[in-house]
């Protein structure tokens, strides 16, 4: 095909009209000066995010060095016991919550739009909110160490050690509220990633052509959606117990400390894969480039990712093998622990086969990947060892376990991440990182890591328990600990070299990056600008840059879709989830303050709660809410500017409703989060019943409200859902009908009435939440329902406000549709709750 013929087949002719490129630059210009705080563009937010996560990583690494210094020799008094406890708690917590999860989420925010050839992720302010919430919350949490307020109960904060009786003061509260808050940020990011991956792929980029990193981020986000609510509920329970005496974990009142362990590890084990899978995705992206061949067994890797995501939810009890659970329970979890090794093995063999299929270029990213394969495989092998119940009993809570999980986490996540830093830096920086420094850094990190942590296997097998701040010389652990400390220092030197390299060579440049120095085949290596690519390509194949050598030039000349900004604002193309057919152009917001205020005020609200300043917390909560309302008021811009021509005769609307709308997908994902939270609650309820059925009332007990009240409450719920359905119909028939606000108002009254009756009914029986685990769970159920009712009250008022402001009608109705979705879910949850609270005690009593 001649050059001219090929050009003629592309969607847009060149040269492009004058002013088009300047308009794009003006619309997407990053805010300058102190207004950088208002930035929302994924590249800018992504770089802030990665930078912040790396800072936390360095801080937690310094804490690790302090611990190793303390343990280097026996009977050392370098650190006091209490400070050592705070330091190991902060090290684990920061590494897991402030580094590992955020940094991969950050990589997603930074890389996904480029890999998918989207101008940005679909909810830029949500990403920015997630970042600021994380930044402020994480910083406050980190600073607690300098004021003696850091928690000291270990990164998994087991009660009763962390109950108010054994951990008085605010230290544990900093963990509970701080981490709870940061999890909200992670969930916000996960919603963005799910919708971004499924709905903003480049036209033509089918699911089978999705970059593996995007697949891993999709599975990662799905796992966050189902795993994080469990720990959110757990932190709620422990904080309610600490603050108000609701006895979820107090055995005397029917609680059980093991409930915490169940909830924590239901989150905590998938967390390992939440961290590992995106790192595996990075490996699957880097290896083909370094080998110059496509990834072997793409389909099987996708299968392995999804299977790992699922199986990882069946492993939580393997952290609890020594807690005295029935032997058969342990058998189930041991079987699942074995099953998960299959998909992990598929990935490892696919990587080895990819390396074997070509010639591996031994650049720094390749070295880090080889290091990853070696270290992670060893970690996987010791993982199979500890999955065997009798072996686990021997090494539980010893340094063997410390060695095992560092091999898995550092090998499985940190090494791929450093490979990624060296690999993708040229896509964002005007010059690549130094190969010479990179090789030295790798050598130091690889040797240092193995010296430090391989030795710990032996230390553990010789009986040294974890979390002891010192040990007597007679036990003979001194030499091994000294070797580990020397290894730790070598490892830290390697990390310091990488940081030096970053400071020396990483220079952000939105328009003139070093570019595709590795000759990679995926879209993030297209010429990028502040507005991402000049035009959005039509994609065929998994390595489009290898398949079409002219693609970068054609894209940059504006020959593909959407070379300008037809709506005069920020926008990108929304495509169908499987075939990636263009469906509409989404109009996206630019820089703003409200999401920043929302994040800061929410963080201050949580901080005030931590130090028990309830009135101040309420003020900040109201301010946060006001910020969110103002932020959301600017969204839902309506269909007025469409349809627009994106090239090639394709005209797209600029608005969509129902299941075609990207915001509908976001709401569905949010409902999954809510349902996972409620399932965790149902689990807690049934679990505590199995532990202490004697605190549950029997059928004749006066602790149960009359059944008629429950039926009345249920009737109100059904009525409210029906009214919302009628309101939806009314809005569709006549977008300005005054009947609409009346129906919505009635629905709201029914909803509020239902929860009020439930709470009053319980109070009337004389039941108080601090009496027993049964009472606490009963009121917690009402509390979870009440939270949704409060959210819906605000959303209903918001919808009515938009209706009266003329911003809601038969067509421009996304705000209402999303509210209706949550409404029906809330009614469903409420009905299940009524059946549980009123039916279960009567059934078993």
């Amino acid at each position: 095909m001649t050059e001219r013929n090929k050009e003629a087949q592309l969607p847009n002719p060149t040269p492009r009209p004058p002013g088009e490129l300047e308009q794009l630059r003006r619309i997407w210009a990053p805010p300058s000066g102190w207004r950088f705080l208002t930035a929302v563009n994924n590249t800018q937010i992504g770089i802030y995010y990665v930078g912040t996560a790396l800072t936390f990583f360095v801080f937690a690494g310094v804490l690790a060095l302090l611990m190793r210094t303390q343990l280097a020799v026996p009977d050392n008094d370098f650190l006091s016991q209490e400070l050592y406890n705070q330091i190991f708690t902060m090290h684990g917590t920061i590494m897991m919550f402030l580094f590992a999860v955020p940094v991969v989420e950050a990589a997603g925010v930074l890389l996904l739009p480029q890999m998918l050839a989207a101008r940005d992720l679909p909810f830029p302010r949500l990403s920015a909110f997630a970042f600021w919430a994380y930044f402020v919350g994480g910083s406050v949490f980190l600073l607690s160490l300098f004021f003696g307020l850091a928690p000291s109960g270990g990164w998994f904060m087991y009660p009763p050690l962390t109950s108010s009786e054994y951990s008085p003061g605010h230290n544990a509260d900093f963990w509970l509220l701080g981490i709870g808050f940061i999890e909200i940020s992670a969930i916000a990011g996960a919603i963005e990633i799910v919708v971004g991956v499924l709905r903003t792929k480049a036209p033509g980029m089918k699911l089978s052509e999705l970059p593996i990193f995007a697949w891993t981020m999709l599975v990662f986000a799905g796992m966050i959606i189902f795993a994080f609510p469990a720990i959110i509920l757990a932190t709620m329970l422990l904080e309610l117990e600490r603050a108000f005496g609701w006895p979820f974990f107090i055995a005397d009142k029917g609680g059980d400390p093991l409930l915490w362990q169940h909830l924590f590890w239901f989150f905590g084990h998938p967390e390992v894969y939440i961290i590992f899978l995106p790192a595996a995705g990075m490996v699957s992206m880097i290896l083909p480039t370094m080998v110059g061949r496509p990834l072997v067994a793409y389909n099987m890797i996708v299968v392995a990712l999804i299977a790992t995501g699922f199986f990882s939810f069946g492993l939580w009890v393997h952290h609890m093998f020594t807690t005295g659970l029935p032997a058969l329970s342990l058998g189930f979890f041991a079987a699942a622990s074995m099953a998960v090794s299959l998909p992990s093995g598929i990935q490892v063999f696919a990587w080895i086969a990819t390396i074997a299929s070509g010639r591996l270029k031994l650049a720094t990213p390749s070295l880090f990947i080889l290091g990853f394969l070696f270290i992670f495989t060893l970690g996987g092998l010791t993982g199979v060892m500890v999955a065997m119940v009798p072996f686990d009993w021997q090494v539980h809570d010893t340094y063997f376990v410390v060695a095992h999980f560092h091999y898995v986490l550092v090998g499985g996540m940190v090494f791929p991440l450093f490979a990624a830093l060296y690999y993708w830096a040229p896509a964002f920086s005007s010059r690549p990182l130094s190969e010479r420094l990179g090789r030295w850094a790798f050598a130091l990190m690889f040797i240092g890591f193995n010296v430090a942590f391989f030795t710990m296997h032996l230390t553990g097998l010789w009986g040294m328990p974890r979390r002891v701040y010192t040990y007597p010389a007679e036990l003979g652990w001194g030499p091994l600990n000294l070797i580990s400390t020397i290894g730790g220092v070598v490892l830290a030197t390697g990390v310091a070299l990488v940081l030096f390299d970053l400071l020396k060579n990483f220079r952000i440049n939105y328009s003139k990056s070093a570019g595709n120095i590795w000759n990679a085949g995926t879209l993030e290596w297209l010429p990028n600008h502040v507005f991402a690519t000049r035009s959005i390509p039509i994609v065929h194949g998994r390595e489009p840059l290898w398949d079409d050598r002219d693609l970068p030039a054609d894209v940059d000349a504006g020959r593909y879709y959407l070379p300008g900004a037809p709506t005069g604002a920020r926008e990108t193309i929304v495509t169908s989830p499987i075939e990636s057919k263009p469906q509409y152009v989404v109009q996206m917001p630019g820089p703003g303050w409200y999401h920043v205020f929302a994040a800061v005020f929410t963080a201050l609200c949580f901080l005030s709660l931590t130090i028990k300043l309830v009135a101040v917390a309420v003020i900040f909560g109201v301010l946060a809410l006001a910020s969110v309302i103002l932020w959301l008021w600017e969204t839902d811009p309506g269909p007025g500017k469409g349809p627009v021509d994106i090239g090639g005769g394709v005209k797209l609307p600029v608005y969509a409703t129902g299941s075609m709308s990207h915001s509908w997908w976001a709401m569905v994902v949010l409902l999954l989060v809510a349902s996972a939270l409620y399932l965790s609650y149902l689990f807690s309820y049934l679990y505590l019943w199995t532990v202490a059925p004697e605190v549950w009332p029997d059928q004749s007990s006066k602790a149960l409200p009359p059944l008629s009240l429950a039926l009345f409450s249920a009737t109100l719920l059904v009525a409210s859902s029906t009214l919302i359905w009628l309101a939806s119909r009314e809005l569709r028939i006549d977008g300005r009908s005054l009947l609409f606000p009346v129906i919505v108002g009635l629905a709201l009254v029914c909803l509020i009435g239902s929860i009020t009756i439930e709470v009053l009914g319980q109070l009337h029986t004389g039941l108080r939440p601090d009496e027993s685990s049964y009472a606490a769970l009963t009121y917690l159920g009402a509390g979870l329902q009440g939270e949704l009712v409060i959210a819906l009250t605000l959303m209903a008022l918001f919808v009515l406000g938009r209706f009266f402001a003329g911003l809601l009608n038969a067509i421009r109705r996304v705000t209402f549709d999303n509210t209706a979705l949550l409404w029906h879910y809330t009614v469903g949850q409420g009905l299940i709750g009524l059946m549980l609270i009123h039916g279960f005690p009567r059934m078993v009593g």
């Binding site: 089978s208 699922f310 058969l328 099953a339 499987i578």
Partner: protein
């Protein structure tokens, strides 16, 4: 059914296998815990037949999902390559899930339902 709804159904079918595994795993663990709870200790003996029944149902579901995936894959010539890709995912995930389901059988036949090793 709208195109968006069809997409959602197609994605859900692809992950049907591991969903069956999770349902089987979760319900088995829940049934065992509830039946062995102190007031129902004597009901522990009911666990094994219940578990075997549940496993048979799960296996039947996985076979059905695999058959559905193979049929989808077989109709490749009439449909898009995405049908083939999703069929591949469906079948492979169902096979892996079948391994997960059957692996839990071994311990059920070897261990009593309610006894504890410790305490």
């Amino acid at each position: 059914m709208s195109r968006s709804h069809k997409s959602i159904v197609a994605l859900l079918v692809a992950i049907a296998g591991p969903s069956v595994w999770f349902a089987h795993f979760g319900l088995s663990y829940a049934a065992q815990s509830l039946l062995c709870a102190s007031t129902y200790q004597q009901a522990g003996g009911a666990f094994l037949p219940l578990f075997v029944l549940g496993t048979l149902v799960a296996c039947a579901a996985l076979v059905a999902i695999t058959a559905m995936g193979l049929r989808q894959g077989g109709s490749l010539l009439r449909t898009s390559d995405q049908t083939h890709f999703l069929a591949d995912l469906t079948v492979s995930l169902a096979v892996l899930s079948a391994f997960g389901v059957t692996a839990s059988l071994i311990s059920t036949f070897l261990l009593p339902p309610c006894s504890r090793f410790l305490g």
